[in-house]
Amino acid sequence: MYGNAYVENPAATNSLTANEDPIKLAEFEARIAAGEKIEPNDWMPEQYKKQLIRMIEQHAHSEIIGALPEGTWITRAPGFRRKLALMAKVQDEIGHGQLLYSAAETLGKSREDMTNDLISGKSKYSNVFNYPAKTWADSAVIAWLIDAGAIVNQLANSKGSYGPYCRALERICAEESFHLKYGHDNVVFLATGTPKQREMVQDALSRWWEPIMHFFGPPDKMSVHTEVLMRWKVKMGTNDDMRQTFLDMYVPKIWDLGLTLPDPNLKKNEETGKWEYTEPNWEVFKQVINGNGPCNKERLAVRRKAEEKGRWVRNAILRKDAKYVTPLA
């Protein structure tokens, strides 16, 4: 999932496989174990479907809402080339959202229902997008490091078991490599620039570090739940595994630029090969994800406004005999 940083679904705390036909379940699990993909109309356990809808939907929302803090900098991007590149990146993100909504739709939830659940606050999106992009340097840090985190997740999930989600993620990952390079380019430009530019990028990095550590979600308590979801290839790695992969790939690159991170305990333990760090404040994480972050209200209000403003156009062009059927793949 995009950041794994979501509130657990309380309805699913019991056994995930209760009430499932044991023979069908065994066939389903054998298919996954053999590396085959599950396709939309296959038999699947209720909880497999439920968890996938929740995960893909939240991933889709994250792409759409994630375009807002970056999109805000398009008009003020320094220079024409950066403006073009940022427009292209933001368009890609909206495209990712659409691909993911379609993947979730194949499981039976309509895009209208998903959008309603986003706007009403019922369904979540990645926590990082509830923070403001204060300066151009923020947009550089987001494009580099938030996208880097997303790539770690998306690459892992593209090897999951649900066909439509994997196909969407493959397209998405191909585009992300441009986002990453573009973001890195921007950060390097600032970090190797004037003292003022360095100060800007250091300030942005320091403010974004905690949200980035939150991005991968709280440390997993290895529950039966997690085990089943990993066996079903819905969850492709623990939150901590993903965080470690990210730290391993990007902290050295950050330090290379002479930038610092606001955690004195951050270092790689050469014996275990694992990164050690101060746990980010998970109470803050909970507060923000439950609606009390600096930008939650603005993000949802802007999204709602866009729906409202476009409605008359959509109504005017809707075919009278249009009929919705679930997308095929």
Binding site: E39, S102, N116, K297, R304, E308, Y324
Partner: protein, 127 residues
């Protein structure tokens, strides 16, 4: 409470932060069209995904934006999802080639042993 943003364009919209009206209704985002892309002349069109659209004209516009932003594409097809008929995965045994259809496969035809035997016989005759 009105939204006050770092982005002046958002602030100017004067959006109320609390109202939750205007739920989307079914078909607000239209029906879907499946998209097929041909990347190069001479190759097959390949299904790449779908778009939500009110008409095939707009489906084409959206498909171009969504699926051909990069790389090469020479031709696009869009077709309403509801106009496509599909088989069920559940019935995929209908595609299994049974032993009785072996005669359709090239490897059902092995003649080399027969040819060699024939040659050996002929050689023995002429010896």
């Amino acid at each position: 409470m009105k939204i006050v943003s770092l982005d002046p364009r958002v602030t100017r919209e004067n959006i109320d932060a609390e109202t939750l009206e205007g739920e989307l209704q079914p078909l607000d985002h239209f029906e879907t069209y499946e998209v097929f892309e041909q990347r190069k002349r001479g190759t097959h069109h390949v299904h790449v995904g779908n778009v939500h659209a009110p008409s095939h004209e707009l489906a084409m516009v959206f498909a171009k934006e969504q699926y051909t932003r990069r790389g090469q594409c020479v031709n696009l097809w869009v077709v309403r999802t509801s106009d496509i008929f599909v088989t069920e995965y559940m019935d995929s045994d209908i595609f299994e080639t049974t032993a009785t259809k072996k005669y359709r496969e090239p490897d059902a035809y092995k003649v080399i042993d027969r040819i060699n035997a024939f040659k050996a016989r002929e050689a023995a005759k002429n010896a």
